[in-house]
């Protein structure tokens, strides 16, 4: 066992783990008022999103605040933000699996779910922001009488492949991991309908040695496929900006900078979700203080990379002696959006430095607040990159500000509603912690250390 602080609380046995996790899904009376309230609010926001989409289809993207210098506004900001959030899930579930990081076990399932829901939210924006979204299939290479393919030099086409691959691999990986757990739920479910539904999705899992061998193989294979995506997807997203010659976009630092930012915001979101979850469902024995501590450290580390990128970006703008780049950064710092810029610097660079202290990392409420602040800060970062760069391009006659309308906010709030509604349904109907992997962890920790894992430990131990 590494460190004085275990990644598994004391007194966990194979059956207690199974019982604890599956009872959240199967137990009666688990549809608590708190759950209903949260799910209801999220549902209302989702309905708001429906309203916006209807209005977009009827009137057009003119309902948003975008205009001609600022042709991309909240939609693309939200796209980049959501897809960045997804990255932490893949990092935890795939990257850390390949690196044999045992601490990922209890958080990987819901982090992966977070990835899938975040990518769903992200994927909607490029579609919604189109002038004519009903023609979205022009982006795909499909056979047609004009022999016309998409423009493969356009980063937007790369995006189509990057995001759809990411979503497919994440979904498969998540589902394959769920199969043994779904079978456990099938076997433990009392209601007939539950048995049938979990039965269908467990795909005939009986737990034979062959099943396990294939399961292990498929998991490793999918982890291997998903790992490069942690790096590649946000790299491609950053190309959306670097390829255009807009001052503030046209920079080679973007790919690593975006990937670090993605993991930064992703871990912030995992913490935002994990801290209330473990408290509400009493999972402190599985998602321990040590988990929160490690995730806070990852956030701190990626936050420093992001800070370095900010500084480098500004330094290069100065050092390149390119008057347009310089003007862009002066505008960012002192211009009409300066408040946004300095808020972003405070939120992303200054406040997270508190995480250097272990006391802070062990104080759940503080970590939760910092994670929220980083989420907001990272959203502002994308806003600054997209909107502030566009509003101050080359031609002074076309410098114009972007003012979000209520529909801009409604679209954003709507996707937050969709994300949380999906998450509420997930924690109610699927095991939010992997039963199989937790049982493996119980088994392994009992072999290497005390027998605390396999057998109930007397209180004095």
């Amino acid at each position: 066992m590494d460190g004085p602080d275990p990644i598994l609380g004391p007194g966990q046995t194979l059956s207690s783990v199974t019982e604890k996790i599956s009872s959240i899904v199967l137990g009666r009376g688990n549809t608590t008022p708190g759950w209903i309230f949260g799910a209801f609010i999220s549902f209302c926001l989702l309905m708001l999103l429906n309203t916006v989409i209807t209005l977009l289809a009827i009137k057009g993207v003119g309902i948003w605040g975008i205009n001609i210098p600022v042709a991309w506004g909240f939609a693309i900001t939200n796209f980049v933000w959501w897809i960045g959030i997804g990255h932490a899930g893949t990092l935890i579930s795939a990257f850390l699996l390949l690196l044999h990081q045992k601490w990922r076990t209890s958080i990987n399932r819901f982090a992966e779910a977070m990835t899938i829901f975040a990518v769903m939210c992200a994927g909607m924006f490029p579609l919604l922001h189109m002038g004519r979204p009903w023609l979205f299939y022009y982006l795909m290479p499909y056979p047609n009488p004009m022999w016309l393919w998409p423009q493969f030099r356009s980063p937007l086409v790369w995006d189509v492949f990057a995001v759809s691959t990411y979503f497919t691999v994440s979904l498969l990986f998540w589902f394959v991991g769920l199969i043994p757990d779904l079978a456990t739920l099938r076997d433990r479910a009392t209601g007939k309908i539950k048995k049938i539904i979990y039965g269908i999705f467990s795909m005939g899992w009986r737990g034979s040695a062959t099943h396990w061998a294939r399961y292990e193989f498929a998991s490793i294979l999918l982890a291997g496929l998903a790992t490069p995506l942690v790096v590649s997807v946000h790299t491609v997203v950053s190309f959306d900006f670097t390829i255009a010659i807009v001052p503030g976009w046209h920079s080679t630092i973007f790919p690593p900078y975006f990937v670090a930012g993605a993991i930064y915001s992703g871990f912030a979101m995992v913490l935002t979700l994990a801290i209330p979850l473990r408290k509400y469902y009493h999972l402190q024995n599985m998602v321990t203080d040590r988990h929160i501590d490690i995730m806070a450290k990852v956030m701190l580390a990626t936050g420093i990379i992001v800070a370095y990128s900010y500084v480098m970006e500004m330094f290069m703008a100065f050092y390149s002696a390119n008057p347009f780049e310089r003007a862009q950064f002066v505008e960012r710092m002192t211009g009409q959006y300066a408040v946004v810029f300095w808020t972003l610097i405070t939120f992303n660079l200054v406040i997270p430095q508190l995480l250097w202290w272990q006391k802070v990392r062990r104080h759940q409420m503080t970590v939760f607040l910092i994670s929220l602040i980083v989420n907001i800060g990272m959203w502002l970062e994308r806003f600054v990159i997209i909107v502030v760069s566009l509003h101050h391009e080359y031609e002074p006659s076309k410098w114009y500000m972007f003012f979000p309308t209520r529909w801009d906010w409604a679209t954003f709030a709507g996707t937050i509603g969709m994300f949380f509604l999906l998450f509420y349904l997930f924690i109610r109907f699927l095991p939010m912690i992997s039963i199989v992997e937790m049982r493996t962890l119980v088994h392994e920790t009992s072999e290497t250390g005390s027998h605390a894992g396999l057998y109930p430990v007397p209180p004095e131990a």
């Binding site: 004519r132 979205f136 030099r153 010659i245």
Partner: protein, 235 residues
């Protein structure tokens, strides 16, 4: 060899009267968006006249510069379009295929001259203005990008006529609406692949320069201006 259409604009002759802007609107069925939308920077002017003020009050000089699509040879707007709606024609124009456009607006972001415009809502013409629509130019619907075409409908018509008469297009035969309406003859349109065309000869002038040339987009419009391209305004 195909024609390479280009333009020369003599800034020393431009009075900033904006006749070109009006002519362009009339010729190309460009909808007006109304006061409110225009205040949100959504007005579509395929050509605009930029004003620059020099000196301090009361000793102020005003300079005008008509800015339209520069029809760049290495256009930043073209490779970013995912559907080939924005593409390069054989005659060197930056074509915009309205039917193919899905409205990602990436071209508008990529264009350093900000001369691409978007239909945020469906355009409408109050009666009886609908009767003055030019039948040679398609009307664009909501969600579609549009931009200066160098009046491609006039170019095509002249080329068709010339082909029927088994001859080449004569220099000066084609006039985009802005060129035609310019009262001071500040704008000249022509074939840059023909070294003897008036546009080619004027483009070679020592007063000539390109807008934001250092970005490398290779714009096809040459601006003529006395001495200020090298920053020496008093010479």
């Amino acid at each position: 060899m195909a024609h390479q259409w280009g333009m020369v604009i003599d800034l020393d002759r431009c009075t900033g009267c904006e006749a070109c802007v009006v002519a362009c609107h009339a010729e190309n069925n460009i909808a007006t968006v109304g006061e409110k939308e225009a205040a949100r920077s959504r007005a579509n002017h395929w050509i605009r006249v930029e004003r620059y003020y020099e000196g301090d009050f009361p000793d102020v000089k005003v300079k005008f510069m008509p800015v339209l699509c520069q029809q760049c040879d290495a256009a930043p707007c073209e490779p970013v379009c995912p559907t080939f709606a924005s593409y390069h024609t054989e005659e060197g124009l930056n074509g915009q295929v309205y039917n193919r456009c899905i409205g990602t607006r990436y071209c508008a972001n990529a264009c350093p001259y900000n001369v691409r415009f978007f239909n945020f809502y469906n355009p409408k013409w109050d009666k009886p203005l609908n009767l003055q629509l030019n039948p040679d130019v398609s009307v664009r619907e909501v969600g579609v990008m549009e931009k200066c075409t160098f009046c491609v409908q006039r170019i095509k018509a002249a080329e068709t006529n010339a082909r029927a008469e088994k001859r080449d297009v004569r220099d000066g035969e084609i006039q985009p609406a802005c060129v035609q309406s310019c009262p001071t003859n500040a704008m000249v349109f022509g074939d840059l692949s023909d070294p003897n065309s008036r546009a080619s000869r004027m483009a070679a002038s020592s007063r000539g320069g390109k807008l934001l040339e250092e970005l490398g987009a290779r714009p096809k419009i040459t601006y003529l201006q006395r001495d200020t391209w090298n920053g020496d305004e008093n010479a």
